[in-house]
Symmetry: C2
Subunit: 203 residues, 2 copies
DNA sequence: GCTTGACTCATACGGTCGTATGATCATATT
DNA sequence: AATATGATCATACGACCGTATGAGTCAAGC
């Protein structure tokens, strides 16, 4: 029991530090010290730093993919299901504030993306392109590569949450006020909805 | 002359390595070795690693801000000027492939963003919100916070270029083919244009 | 021809890093 | 009671880090 509690504390502190300082910046020494564990605990419980990292990523991303897939398979027409997906995305990013910092570090070119990230994004992309193709068949979604439309849609929640930390410094904390954050979600939904809808014919 | 050539080689190799491996991952030893310079050269020419880093960032971002501001001040109605800005953005990101990796590393939460990044993005944001406010006054751009609309617009080129390295692995290099890349630019322009335009009245 | 200044060089310093090693402890099983 | 097992511990190892130091090089100016 104590063993699993040490394991859990290591996971929690590792996640906090990886998100804050990146893979290189979060040293095994700091992680174990903050978790109140011995230096060797990471090697013992996870086999090494990288394996711990992958476990942290999987724990952070798997629930997101799960919820997105469920929202994409929910009731309603394709456009409103995509709106539901975006709300799920924003909600998840809001309740897991450290997630942007976590995945941001993994996207650096030169390194290959960790398997948990690959898996989660693969599931999400597949679910969304499916919904978009369905919408294109019934004419409620504009024509074009479903993959591109999916990415344009995902760009909204991802970019906003990635930019949040940087932007709150550029805008004097504006985006941190809760009512502004809610307004931002509605804005992103509207922008994406217009972007996905077929353009009205110009006379 | 040889001195300035060493300086230039240091800048070039530092940029390559910072983009690829991040600030921590790019060691002064590797930078100087690849530049064919002595270990002490960074300290001598730039005063330290961080100053070299800032100089690299400034050299990479200042021209982008310059071109964006110029495109935003060009001729034409607001919507087409914003389209021009997006084209400039895509073109710049295409000719400076290492730029996403470079700025991505600076966005990590916990660290404050480097002054050159702050300055460039500040200029870009100011120019774009100005154009959007102008479009809102003449009714060609949907209402809402200009800042949010600016971010939604910027999300397209930035997210696509950030995601390019990761996505080319998820999509088997699809996005690397030049005609697909060109199609992607047109897609992003269309998506953003629809997102910025006022929604047609629903009867 | 000598000096001055900008530059390059080899080397040293104190730190931090991830991991390996073997001892020690607590607890459950025989 | 003795032992086996899983967990924790202090410590050591080799590697790499950014920077400082001082000696060496070499062309330009007097």
């Amino acid at each position: 029991m104590t063993s699993s509690s040490t394991r859990a504390r290591l996971l929690a502190e590792a996640r906090r530090l990886f998100a804050q300082a990146g893979y290189d910046g979060a040293s095994v020494r700091r992680i174990t010290a903050r978790a109140g564990a011995n230096l060797g605990a990471v090697t013992y419980h996870f086999g090494g730093k990288q394996r711990l990292y992958h476990e942290v990523l999987a724990a952070a991303l798997a629930p997101l993919a799960e919820r997105v897939v469920r929202a994409a398979a929910g009731p309603g027409d394709p456009l409103s299901r995509l709106g539901a997906v975006m709300r799920v995305y924003f909600a998840y990013l809001d309740e897991q504030r450290d997630l942007p910092g976590l995945i941001l570090q993994t996207l650096a070119p030169g390194r290959s993306l960790p398997p948990p990230v690959r898996a989660a994004f693969g599931r999400i992309l597949a679910a969304l392109t499916g919904v978009i193709e369905e919408g294109q068949r019934v004419g409620s979604i504009v024509n074009g590569r479903p993959l591109f439309l999916t990415l344009s849609l995902l760009a909204q929640p991802i970019y906003f949450s990635l930019a949040r930390s940087g932007l709150s410094k550029l805008t004097d904390g504006l985006t941190d006020r809760p009512e502004v954050a809610a307004e931002l979600v509605e804005h992103a939904l509207g922008f994406a909805r217009r972007g996905l809808s077929p353009a009205p014919e110009v006379p």
